[in-house]
Symmetry: C2
Subunit: 109 residues, 2 copies
């Protein structure tokens, strides 16, 4: 019935790990585990849904298109990424798992 | 732009602290901070929305109506509480803040 966000993480993570924890109607709750991964240079996430994202462990830097200032994240930090806000993960900690909780939703629902 | 779930917690918490971090359409994201608080004996939450709840610090025990087994939660544990599942918080840690993230949503959206 319960699960834990810090468990069932493979020891090796050649790729970032994306897992849908819940998908219902217009909402999707996702766990992401990064381990030094970043978004490919020059690529941007450009999403049609709003995303509320929380960093639970590790550390990360988010970068935004168009000269907006980058945001450094530590555990407990959360940020709203509105649909259409072009962003990329510029850094995640290389010596630890960065565990994210991402909530995707349709703000016009 | 960013905020932190573990910051801006009053030193004294005579009552549980409920804060809406985001409300949009059919979804509400809430921070709850408990410090030894429990649901009044004999009272049950009986909600019309589904709730996905994550414990981020401290510890807690959820109890369910109708003889279902109680669930102990530690940091990182999450659980889905479907609409209509009568539940109460039977225990939260008295010596630390138990920080919860609760996501309320309408599963029929």
């Amino acid at each position: 019935m319960k699960n834990n966000l810090f468990e069932n993480i493979p020891e090796k993570l050649p790729e970032e790990l994306f897992e849908t924890l819940l998908a219902s109607g217009d909402i999707k709750i996702e766990r992401i585990v990064s381990h030094g991964h970043t978004t490919t240079e020059g690529e941007w996430y450009d999403q049609s849904l709003d995303e509320w994202v929380l960093l639970l462990s590790g550390s990360a830097v988010l970068e935004f298109d168009g000269g907006k200032e980058s945001v450094s994240l530590k555990p407990g930090d959360y940020i709203l990424l509105p649909a259409g806000l072009r962003h990329r993960v510029a850094r995640t900690e290389s010596g630890a798992d960065s565990v994210w909780l991402a909530i995707h939703f349709n703000h016009s629902a």
